[in-house]
Structures are given as C-alpha cells and as structure tokens.
C-alpha cells in the first residue's frame, strides 16, 4: 500500500464532501429536500446509491453528512489537542504537586465510563446557561457536540505530551536555556513545544479517528447532530428503522465511518512509525 494513501484519501474525502453543494446542483439531485414521489429507489444511473425514506439522494446526503462528521472530528480534535498539549506540558514541566494533581485529574477522566457521561452531557439544555438565541440556532447541536467531545478527548494527548516533556526537560539545550536565565514559560514555548509537536500530531490523528466514532454513536442515539442536519450517525438511525424493508441503507453511512476512521488510524500509525521507527507497539 502506498504510504500516502491514508492522507490522500482523507484530503480527497474532505474536498469531495465540501463540494457536495456543487455536485448536487451539477447532477441536479436533492440531498436535503424531500421528494416523496421517489422514496427508497434502488441504485441507478440517476441516483448512484439510491434514495432514502424521504426520497433524498443517499450519495449527496453521505457527502453532506461527511461535512459534519469531518468538521466535528477536525475542530474537536484541534481543541482537544490544544487542551491536552497545554495540560501535558504544564504537568511535565512544572512537576511536583502540579504534575500529580493534573495527572490524577487525567486518570480520573480516563477511568470514567465515557459514553454514559457523554449521554448525560449531550442531554443538557444549553438554553439554561443563558446563551440566549445562540442555543436555538440550527447549528447549536454542532457546537455543543464539539465542546462536549473535546472536553473528554484531550487525555491521550496530555499523557503523551507530558511524557515527552519529561524527557525534553532534562536535555542539554533546555538546561542551557534555563542556565541562561530564560523563563519557564518561554522555555516551554520555544524549546519544548516545537519538539513535541510530532508526538502531538500522532496523538491528534488517532484522537480524531476516535472522535468520529464517538460523534457517530451520539448522533445515532439521537443525542448528537440533530436532523435535518445530516451526519453519518443520524443517517444510520433512520436506516435502522427501515432495516426490514431496506437493509441496503444501513450499509453506506457505516461504511463511510469505518473507512474514514481507518484512514485516521493508518495515518497516525504511519506518522508514529516515521517519528519512531523502532516502536514495537504499533497499532
């Protein structure tokens, strides 16, 4: 397999999903409007993957759903990576009591049953937080899911960043910087951060794959992305309802999730191998 395949695949998927609107109008299909005259059509040259329970083109919906899933994965992944890197570097560089405190917090978060907690969190009424009209906007479910998932996904990055910081802290160039009177904050920013970026990128790729899985489960359960905004998860909810008549519809969204997560995991694996060719515990 080509070593660039995962990255190429992800970039192509990203490009394809975000040109869903153009593809839709070019092929004169409808991905968002119901067309009750053409429900549950089989795949044909007009509808490559057929139509769903409201007569919407499945392929176009998959692309729109991909927009949402990828957007959540990338934005929540970046937020989680920022939180994780900050906490990991702070714990690793400060050491002592701060390290113990932050790592206990991380351990606690890791050990909690994640999905039950996510279910409780996603049922929260953000209207009660006093955000006003924002809470009622159609894209509110998107922001909410990104926030909730990033709050629970930073732990892997934090642990790896901390471990790397502990090693870097004792290296000669860091000690030299300290001896020259550089402040701790500057050392972390100028010397530690650039050197642990590789580790963080690997962990972020793996985290992003996991985020897609989590988002799809929540959306599948009806607690994540709310219809009519499509996501691969909530497309499966509808597909399961009609599984006895049209089992075909359950295949596509799941396959998209699977292949995308696989690509993220392969990407992480590749990068890890590049950073540390001797690593024995590869995924």
């Amino acid at each position: 397999m080509s070593r660039y395949l995962p990255l190429t695949f992800l970039l192509a998927l990203l490009a394809l999903c975000f040109s869903a609107g153009a593809i839709e109008s070019a092929l004169s299909l409808t991905g968002n409007e119901a067309d009750l005259g053409s429900r549950f059509l089989s795949p044909s040259s007009a509808h490559f993957l057929g139509t769903d329970e409201l007569g919407r083109d499945v392929l176009i919906r998959l692309l729109y759903g991909g927009q949402v899933s990828l957007l959540v994965a990338i934005s929540a992944g970046l937020v989680a990576a920022s939180i994780g890197t900050t906490i990991g570097m702070a714990a690793g560089y400060a050491g002592g009591k701060w390290d113990a405190l932050l790592m206990r917090l991380t351990d606690m978060l890791i050990s909690l049953p994640a999905l039950p907690l996510l279910i409780i969190l996603s049922a929260l009424d953000i209207g009660k937080l006093g955000l006003g009209n924002f809470a009622n906007a159609p894209s509110a479910s998107l922001y909410k899911i990104v926030t909730i998932i990033s709050l629970l996904s930073w732990t892997t990055v934090a642990r790896l960043a901390r471990a790397r910081t502990l090693t870097l802290k004792e290296m000669d160039f860091v000690r030299a910087a300290r001896a020259l009177g550089m402040t701790g904050f500057k050392i972390v920013l100028r010397h530690i951060f650039p050197n642990l970026l590789g580790t963080v990128v690997v962990a972020t790729a793996l985290t992003a794959g996991n985020i897609i899985l989590v988002e799809s489960v929540l959306s599948f359960l009806g607690l994540g992305i709310q219809p009519p905004l499509p996501s691969w998860g909530n497309m499966l909810t509808n597909a399961q309802k009609t599984i006895w008549e049209h089992a075909r519809l359950t295949v596509y969204p799941g396959a998209m999730i699977f292949v995308t997560v696989l690509a993220f995991n392969f990407l992480g694996d590749r990068l890890q191998h590049k950073l540390d060719p001797k690593a024995k515990n590869r995924i």
Binding site: R104, M108, I110, S111, L112, P113, A114, L115, P116, L117, I119, I120, L121, A123, L124, D125, I126, G127, K128, L129, G209, L213, S216, V217, F220, L221, G222, L223, L236, A239, Q240, I243, W244, A247, T250, V251, P253, G254, I257, F258, V261, L262, F264, N265, F266, D269, K280, N281, R282, I283
Partner: protein, 318 residues
C-alpha cells in the same frame, strides 16, 4: 500490600466518587424539564403559588450546595430516591438491569478472551510474519469499526436476511429464547473488544519473549510450548489483566451502544431511556453506580498487579 498505601488509594477512589457525584448532580440541574414545570404542564389549574409551595416542599428553592448535601445524606443511608419514569425506587429499577448488563459483558468477555489469547500469542511468536501482519490489520480494522454499525449489520444478516435470530434482545425468562436473543449482542460486543485485547496481549508477549530468561530456557533445552506458556505467558499476564481491569469504563460504553441497538434491557439502555425520558435522578444514580464499579475495578487492579508480580510492592519494605 502496605495498609497505608491501600488506605490512601481507597481514600482517593472515594474522593473521586464524591467529586463525580457533585459534578453530575450540578449538571442534572441544567437538564431540560424541571419536575415542577412538568407537573404544571399537565394541570391547567396549577397556579404559580402552587409551584412555589411545591418547590419549598421538595426543597427545590434551596441553593445547590444545600440540595446536594441533602441528596448525599439520603444516598449514604441507601435512599437513592424514586424513578419518575418507572414509579419505583431507583435501586429496584437499577438492580435487575445491572445483572443483565453484567451477564452480557461477562459472556462476551469470556468469548473475547478465548479468541484473543491464541491470536495475541501467535502474533507475538511470529512477529513480522504474514500471519502477524494479518492479525495487525484485523486489529486496526477492529478499532476503527463502529460497534453499533457492526450490530446493525449482524441484525440485517442474521435477523432480516437469514431469519435465524431475533433482531431485538428483550429477555422473557425462557432459557432458549434468552440465549437466542442474547447471541447477536454478545457477538457484537465480543468482536468489538477482540481487537483491543489482541493488541495488548501481543505487545505484552513481545516484551516477555524478549527477556533474557527466555533465551536461558531455550538454551537449556526447554520445549517451545513450555517456554511460551510457562515462561513468557506467565509474565505477559499481569499487565494484560491490569489493562482488562482498568478498561471497565470502556466496556460499559460498549455495552451501552450495543444495548441501545438491540433494545437489550441493561444499564446502558436504562440510562439512555432515563435521559430521553427526563428521569434525571435515575440517570444520575445509574451513572454513579457505573462509576463506582469502574473505581472499584481500578482499585482492585493495583492489588491484582502486586499479587501476580512479586517484584511489585507499593511503598512497603520487604
């Protein structure tokens, strides 16, 4: 085992449980649908004065810390309150569901381990061979597979297309029916867990097989079988068992997904229904019980590790 260390860990676990309970209790206040509002919605003669009186009666007009400490005091005396959805004490609702989830997790875990053991050990013994690569690829696919989709695919194959097994998993007490109902959920969970355990086992076995005493054993003419199982596997077991114990939270998450797909009457489905049906006391207690067992498992993992590996001792003098 050093008693001071054990006490310290126990205290830490209790503190965590307390923190989690406070956090979740606070969050519950942010859930949609105040119970008094719900009463008001169902009764046209309900005046704002009634609402205020009821709020005072149930102590809902008190500030959060007061409400929480009252709840905590009652909970410590074994009174977890009522479930609005089921009109029963929470514990009575939770207990049978908990047993069901335990059964589901237990059976699938046994099956997972039965497959993971030979696969992991084989992959580690033949590191770099085609079978190792195949197992690696399988694991990568396994951790990328959405569990609920696997469940749906199994339903569409075995229930819809072949008609061999039921699509739902409601238990009715008839042994044969229950076994048939549980087959697909158990299979889904077992397959989803397999990849993770094979990877851990493989890594631990690779470590164990690389140790010096393995070379010694081979040099003195120990058979391959004996070397692998008595010398290496014995050393690979403690870390894997510990990971298994630490992984209970993940297992609960997996169970929740599978229960929701199959409608299996377990803790996960219950919590999901509770959140959907605005029964927040039930959701809170369910989550705390899951957390309690996760912390218990974490606590026991430390002891297990020390018991299985005589080199490990926590702060004690030997």
């Amino acid at each position: 085992m050093n008693p001071a260390f054990a006490l310290n860990r126990l205290l830490q676990a209790l503190l965590t449980l307390l923190a989690v309970s406070f956090l979740v209790y606070t969050l519950i206040g942010l859930m949609p649908g105040d119970p008094i509002d719900l009463m008001a919605a169902g009764n046209p003669h309900f005046t704002p004065e009634d609402a205020a009186r009821l709020r005072a009666l149930y102590g809902l007009d008190q500030p959060l810390p007061v409400r929480y400490s009252r709840w905590l005091m009652a909970a410590l005396q074994g009174d977890l309150g009522y479930s609005r959805l089921y009109n029963m004490p929470v514990l009575e609702v939770l207990w049978p569901r908990f047993v069901n989830t335990g059964l589901l997790l237990g059976i699938s875990l046994i099956i997972t381990i039965a497959f993971a053991l030979p696969m992991g050990v084989h992959a580690a013994r033949h590191m770099g061979s085609w079978s190792d690569r195949a197992i690696n690829l399988f694991c990568l696919a396994g951790i990328s597979l959405p569990h609920f989709w696997l469940g749906i695919l199994l339903i569409s194959l075995f229930a819809v297309t072949l008609g061999w097994l039921p699509a739902g998993a409601s238990l009715d007490g008839e042994f044969i029916d229950d076994v048939r109902a549980m087959t697909l959920p158990v299979a889904t969970l077992a397959v989803s867990g397999l990849a993770v355990y094979v990877r851990h086992l493989r890594a631990a076995m690779v470590d164990a097989l690389g140790a010096d005493h393995i070379r010694t054993a081979r040099a003195k003419g120990c058979s391959t079988r004996r070397t692998v199982w008595n010398h290496a596997f014995k050393n690979a077991l403690p870390p894997v068992l510990t990971i298994l114990m630490l992984d209970l939270g993940t297992l609960f998450s997996g169970a929740l997904t599978v229960e929701a797909v199959f409608g299996f009457p377990g803790m996960g489905k219950l919590m999901f229904d509770a959140v959907m049906g605005n029964d927040y006391n039930l959701a809170l207690c369910g989550f705390l019980i899951l957390t309690f067992f996760v912390l218990l498992a974490n606590f026991m993992a430390d002891f297990l590790y020390a018991a299985l590996d005589p080199r490990v001792s926590y702060g004690g003098q030997r």
